[in-house]
């Protein structure tokens, strides 16, 4: 031990030698080394290195593996720190002026109180009561923030995040509750901002706790259940009323994001509905309290992603990951059935079902037709090609030729799920029609249950034959997809049916539409009587977004519980729309333009049956511009679903409205995509 210490001490001393330049100090140090030399072997070694000519080869032996390791780690650390320091200074220099300080100079001041409504998966959840395996996690975040605890005990974590599969509420003995306050969703994980940028900018013009509120709710529950269990809707109502009063009777500006837009739609109906089911605010409540609703990346009509999520709990990211590393996800690692577990958990979340595409074939297109039909998938790519490869002009020519060829063969986006690539392209006449009623949902294959671990998904209860029947060369549109989901996940859909509806209303005055399950579907509700209110649709465009999927049926395997899978081998050859089994359209990476913009562009435009009091609507699109340099982080002009919260143009729009501007003063609509054309193609009675 002593020798090691000595050795380290010497090494510690050596840099001093380097820095003391004079001869004397060098000599004295050396001599002191010599004097101590006899003490231990290590010291002898170090001195050997310092003495000339004696043993040249020894030094290499000195550096053993541990030394090498330590050296490397130290080296990496040091360079890392240096880089950090550098980037710290650089970012200090480069930071452009934030919209907050810019608008502050213009003289904008906090006027209307602001309510933020976070979306799905981004709000934090914390544990209030749990099983013994979650000891010590009381009031720690289970969802968002660092997730470290969760990697330590993944099964325990999943158990606590699941809800009861029958009621959709807490399982007995477990209480997981949303984090309250601004801290709930300002950062998702350390360094991954969500609302922070917006909050920071709002604060610059004078916003603070009394006029800025984050309406947190448990995003796993169905909307009405957040009221039943946590009284979230009542709290939001009381909070808005309070802010209205203490800020001098100024109406609030609501800023929902993602699923929050549906949640707030539900709230609008709930608050005016009479007391037992609703909030009893009376018909004038919205007109009195709300100035504007600024939906960021709204998914009024649902997202196709939700379907693939429910069907096989995979989305683009997972499908890509599967092609890269098939072993990890596919093979049944000892005890790990990742996807099955995820599926089991996410199927207990009712809120997932609010995201299923709404409006059926009228909106999303049928077997042969879709509103996006003329969308040119290659426009983005073509731009890239032109910019980057001028010299390879012959290649561009070829691809141009291919383009011209392919445009004729339009992609059938309406077929949200098709089994096999062929099925996705066949003309509709060649497709077999199919009736789910013919199928007997017998629990024939439950025998495999015992051997496959205790992971339970509803697929186990389906017989192999019926699965085959469902899958073979079938295509599903937005309407029939509901039948498919009914078939593969009856329990889940039974719960969902009590809370959500996905149709289009024939007659909005039908008394059945006063039930809460219709409140979050914009196609089955009327907007409230608040003519002075404004509704904004703010969303990103210019990023390929999932629209429909090519699935394949997996060979029969006892322990493989999810029989369907996105066929990631398809596509890529010529059609840029189809990549790894997924057809893409324009959108913000999660929500297609159609879902985000249609209601504002057409469904609520002017005075119609969905908007009987003529609330004005505005569309503000933000084109994607990826960050140019690394230091910029996630980009100031990004428009992807989550990163758009840091988009300076969007923040500026929100701040102007919060400070009193209206839609016209903002500049009205600002459109880059084909949303108007697409909407016109949709034949919806208004």
């Amino acid at each position: 031990m002593a020798s090691i210490l000595r050795c380290r001490k010497l090494r510690y001393v050596e840099p001093v030698k380097c820095s003391t330049l004079g001869l004397e100090s060098l000599e004295t140090l050396k001599s002191s080394d010599k004097a101590e030399g006899g003490a231990s072997a290590v010291v002898v070694n170090t001195i050997n290195r310092s003495l000339p000519g004696k043993r040249r080869r020894r030094p290499t032996n000195d550096w053993r593996y541990i030394d090498w390791y330590c050296w490397m780690v130290g080296y990496l650390c040091t360079t890392w720190w240096l880089l950090l320091l550098l980037s710290h200074f650089l970012s200090g220099f480069q930071a452009p002026e934030s919209p907050g300080s810019k608008l502050k100079r213009e003289g904008l001041k906090a006027l209307h109180p602001v309510v933020l409504v976070p979306g799905i998966v981004i709000g934090g959840l914390e544990l209030w009561e749990g099983r013994p395996c979650a000891d010590g996690l009381f009031r720690k975040r289970l969802w968002s923030s660092s997730f470290t605890e969760n990697f330590r005990r993944p099964l325990c974590w999943l158990e606590h995040l699941s809800l009861d599969s029958v009621t959709g509420l807490d399982p007995p003995g477990i209480r997981v509750r949303p984090v309250t306050g601004l801290a709930a969703a300002d950062y998702f994980a350390p360094g991954y901002f969500l609302w922070t940028t917006l909050i920071e900018n709002l604060a610059k013009v004078g916003y603070e706790g009394k006029n800025l509120h984050m309406a947190t709710y448990d995003w796993r529950l169905s909307f009405q259940n957040t009221e039943v269990r946590d009284q979230s809707l009542s709290r939001l109502k009381s909070k808005i009323e309070l802010m209205f009063v203490i800020n001098g009777y100024r109406k609030v500006v609501v800023v929902p994001h993602s699923m929050g837009s549906l949640y707030f739609l539900h709230f609008l109906k709930w608050v005016e509905a009479p007391a037992p089911m609703g909030g009893g605010g009376g018909p004038g409540w919205c007109a009195k309290h709300i100035k504007a609703i600024m939906n960021i990346g709204p998914l009024f009509l649902g997202v196709p992603k939700a379907v693939s999520n429910i069907l096989s709990s995979e989305a683009k990211d997972i499908a890509f990951a599967r092609t890269m590393a098939p072993v990890v996800l596919d093979s049944n690692f000892p005890g790990l059935q990742t996807l099955e577990h995820i599926m089991q958990v996410s199927r207990t979340w009712d809120s997932m079902m609010s995201l299923i595409p709404k409006g059926g074939e009228t909106i999303w297109g049928d077997l042969d037709w879709s509103p996006e039909e003329e969308y040119n998938c290659d426009s983005e790519w073509k731009k890239n090609l032109k910019a980057s490869s001028r010299d390879q002009s012959h290649k561009t020519n070829i691809s141009d030729g291919q383009l011209g060829f392919r445009v004729k063969e339009s992609v059938k986006f309406g077929r949200i799920i098709s089994f096999g690539k062929m099925a996705s392209k066949l003309p509709s006449s060649e497709l077999r029609t199919f009736d789910f009623k013919d199928l007997s949902c017998g629990g024939a294959s439950t025998k495999s249950n015992s051997s496959c671990g205790e992971v339970w998904t509803e697929y186990d209860e389906l017989s192999r034959e019926s699965i085959k029947e469902v899958a073979e060369n079938k295509v599903y549109t937005a309407t029939t997809i509901l039948d498919l989901l009914y078939f593969v996940a009856p329990k889940m859909m039974r719960r969902a049916n009590a809370h959500f509806s996905h149709g289009v209303a024939e007659n909005l005055d039908d008394p059945k539409y006063s039930h809460y399950k219709y409140w979050s579907n914009p196609l089955e509700t009327k907007l409230p009587d608040a003519p002075a209110m404004e509704i904004y649709c703010l969303y990103g465009v210019g990023i390929p977004t999932e629209r429909s999927y090519v699935y394949k049926l997996l060979p029969s395997d006892q322990c493989r519980h999810i029989p369907f899978r996105i066929d990631s081998s398809t596509g890529g050859n010529n059609g840029r729309c189809l990549r790894s089994g997924i057809y893409f359209v324009d959108g913000d990476e999660s929500v297609p333009v159609l879902s985000a913009g249609f209601m504002c562009a057409k469904g609520w435009q002017g005075r119609n049956r969905f908007n009987p009091f003529g609330i004005s609507t505005y569309i503000r699109e933000y084109r994607n511009k990826p960050p140019t340099i690394l230091f910029e982080g996630r980009g100031l002009e990004s428009s992807s679903h989550v990163d758009i919260m840091g988009n300076v143009a969007l923040i500026e729009d929100i701040m102007r409205v919060a400070a009193g501007a209206n839609g016209v003063e903002l500049g009205g609509n600002r459109i880059f995509s084909d949303i108007i054309k697409m909407s016109e193609r949709i034949n919806l009675r208004l």
């Binding site: 030698k17 780690v73 601004l182 706790g209 009394k210």
Partner: protein, 674 residues
């Protein structure tokens, strides 16, 4: 790896270049040596390896060890510390939440927490240049990292405006909302966390618990003016009552929160422009019980010393131990002066100046605590241990302590009979201009305006009682007290029906307000006893030094024997280390008992005292039977009481009063018209 090596090479090249540069000098001096070329080569090589590499090696080593330890720590099961504790101390008793859950108690009444002074977190919303990057970071509470990094900036941001008592321009520091505001004061130092965890066991969660966080630096009415905090509390209580099926709330204020909630109860029923306009039956409709924990109803003497010389017992002791650090102007840091400057801008500190004057706190020769045997710890030990000690204890009895003299200059003054003290009135003293002002850097305390003449006059008055202490503070800190007078009052009402008592400045003084008309409500006073608590101080004038606070607690003044009440210049009585029993218990023991003029509707009051028992060993942390002002929040008996009341029990079901101290005897000796 090869890349790494190359990088390393380039790095070392730089180093060697420098070396060669130096080497040339070296050569010039030492060219006689014959083997110098080879030697130099080797030396260079050695240096290549040694200089930067050994640095890297060291850093790497430390990093790896650190990571390894971190890994071990993370891999350690979360319940490990508990195992260790149980192995050493034997099994722990069930926490009250678990125990009561087994008894079948469930959530019933919503609870509202009202945190006290300094325990609530404050965060930055807008600041000056120096506080860049601290947006929505905690300035107060948490790790206090910023205090060390930029102390002056921190002081600047924590101070309020000296005139208005509100935000200085360009700075907005706001209270942290939600339960996180005061569950932990600093990492590992719980305040409300234990209580919250135990309530959660029987089913409480965020919808039935509410932390009424407020900016504790402001005067109570100003929290409403600036942040609308009172309105928010009102709206939240109304919401909780509505969403929990009309069940009234149980309010649990702690420390200064007690006064704040007293203010709230008056505010909410007062008509709209000044009050909340809730109507005269708001409290009756919404509040089941107010369970005050360690409430300084009548103020604390500590507040006086805090305002007077920015020191309390802890600081006085620290000064005795390390006089250099606090007294001398170390590194240009005038810690106490800065601290004083900051705290004097906080209006709330003035809410805790002793109230009720000489009637309550005693005059020059009399005090309610008279004859208090000082060291209760010792006394109790005597019963179980050696009986012989009681003899020495008896010796200290005859000498009476004049607790009424809250501040006396010199030990003799503190002990002399009042007739022998010559007092000079200080009001006439001329406040001279202090020439030293400019030399004292930019720290400004009002003492600088006072001049030596004024200071001396203050010293000459010799002894101050609770009544005259106000005059003293008016004299030494006129600006601060001017703000204080607008928001707080410290007297006793002659006639409570006088319309002047409708003003909000009387609302937080229990001796100048009536309790609301809510006969079903219950008021609990829960506090710790058995810890010596500051009650009166012996001061000395510091030698004429222009840059310092001219008064200091005279830490050299010690009692004669060990069991004395006087220690380090501070006289102690029974209490919870901060609040004397008198202040915490008197209102519930006497002034509000039964139907009195302060309590016209006959709200029932209960006293629950918790005898202090220090933790057995370090592993127990801050103890489960502590009676100390903040640690009592982890006291199992107190938590059990609260949970029972929250689950529906009344004061009688708890067992009524539970008293260890002499509070009833003392209260009787106070001659207050009821």
């Amino acid at each position: 790896m090869s890349i790494l090596r190359r990088r390393k090479a380039s790095e070392t090249e730089k180093a060697s270049k420098e070396d060669t540069h130096k080497e040339t000098k070296y050569k010039g001096v030492e060219d006689e040596k014959k083997d110098k070329i080879s030697k130099r080569k080797v030396e260079e090589k050695k240096k290549k390896w040694s200089c930067i590499d050994s640095c890297c090696w060291l850093i790497g080593c430390i990093c790896s060890i650190g990571w390894f330890l971190l890994f071990l720590y993370n891999a350690m099961p979360a319940s490990f510390p508990q195992y260790v504790t149980e192995a050493i101390n034997g099994p722990l008793p069930d926490p009250p939440g678990v125990k009561l859950q087994k008894e079948g108690l469930t959530v019933k009444h919503p609870v509202v927490f009202v945190p006290g002074i300094v325990t609530g977190g404050l965060e930055l919303w807008e600041g000056h240049q120096c506080a860049d990057g601290l947006f929505r970071k905690r300035l107060w509470g948490g790790t206090f990292g910023e205090v060390y990094k930029r102390p002056l900036c921190w002081v600047e941001h924590m101070s309020l405006d000296n005139e208005t008592g509100l935000d200085p321009s360009g700075i907005r520091v706001r209270p942290v909302p939600g339960l996180v505001a005061a569950d932990y004061f600093a990492p590992g130092y719980f305040v409300w966390a234990v209580l919250i965890a135990n309530l959660a066991r029987i089913g409480y969660e965020e919808k039935t618990m509410y932390m009424a966080a407020y900016d504790w630096r402001l005067s109570f009415q100003n929290t409403e003016v600036r942040d609308h905090t009172l309105s928010r509390i009102k709206s939240n209580i109304e919401l909780m009552v509505a969403t929990n099926g009309g069940r009234k709330v149980v309010v649990i204020p702690h420390s200064m929160g007690v006064l704040y909630f007293l203010h709230f109860m008056k505010w909410v029923e007062a008509p709209a422009p000044m009050g909340g306009g809730g109507g005269s039956d708001w409290c009756a409709k919404h509040i089941k019980a107010v369970m005050n924990i360690g409430g300084p109803f009548l103020g604390v003497p500590k507040a006086v010393s805090g305002l007077f010389s920015a020191e309390a017992k802890d600081i006085a002791v620290a000064r005795a131990i390390a006089p250099v650090f606090l007294d001398k102007d170390v590194f240009g840091l005038q810690a106490l002066q800065h601290f004083m400057q900051m705290t004097r801008t906080w209006d709330s500190t003035m809410s805790m100046i002793p109230k009720g004057g000489d009637t309550i706190w005693g005059n020059m020769d009399w005090s309610p605590e008279e004859g208090y045997a000082c060291n209760p710890q010792r006394q109790r030990n005597n019963e179980t241990q050696v009986a012989g000690q009681s003899g020495t204890e008896g010796l200290s009895y005859p000498k009476r302590v004049n607790y009424g003299r809250i501040i006396s200059f010199g030990k003799e003054v503190a002990e002399e009979h009042s007739s022998k003290i010559e007092r000079m009135d200080f009001w006439d003293a001329v406040k001279g201009n202090n020439l030293g002002n400019t030399t004292c850097r930019d720290v400004w305390t009002e003492y600088h305006d006072m001049g030596w003449g004024g200071i001396k006059a203050v010293g000459d008055y010799k002894a101050y009682t609770a009544g005259s202490i106000l005059d003293l503070l008016h004299f030494v800190a006129p600006k601060m007290m001017k703000r204080g007078d607008a928001h707080f009052s410290y007297g006793i009402a002659e006639n409570l029906d006088d319309p002047k008592y409708n003003h909000y400045k009387y609302w937080s003084n229990p001796l100048e307000t009536k309790l609301p008309n809510a006969p079903d409500m219950e008021i609990y006073s829960m506090y710790g006893v058995g810890i010596p608590t500051e009650r009166a101080y012996i001061y000395k004038l510091t030698p004429a030094a222009e840059c310092y606070i001219p008064f200091q607690i005279d830490t050299s003044a010690e009692g004669e024997n060990e069991g004395s009440r006087l220690k380090g210049g501070v006289f102690s009585v029974d209490g919870d280390e901060t609040v004397p029993v008198l202040s915490a218990g008197f209102m519930c023991a006497k002034a509000w008992r039964g139907k009195s003029r302060f309590n016209p509707s006959g709200i029932r009051t209960f006293i629950r005292e918790y005898d202090h028992a220090p933790p057995v060993n370090l592993l127990e942390g801050r103890g489960t039977q502590s009676g100390a002002h903040v640690d009592i929040m982890g006291n199992f008996a107190l938590i059990e009481d609260i949970i029972r009341v929250a689950a529906g029990a009344t004061g009688e079901e708890l067992g009524g009063d539970r008293v260890y101290s002499d509070i009833f005897k003392w209260s009787d000796s106070i001659n207050l018209q009821l």
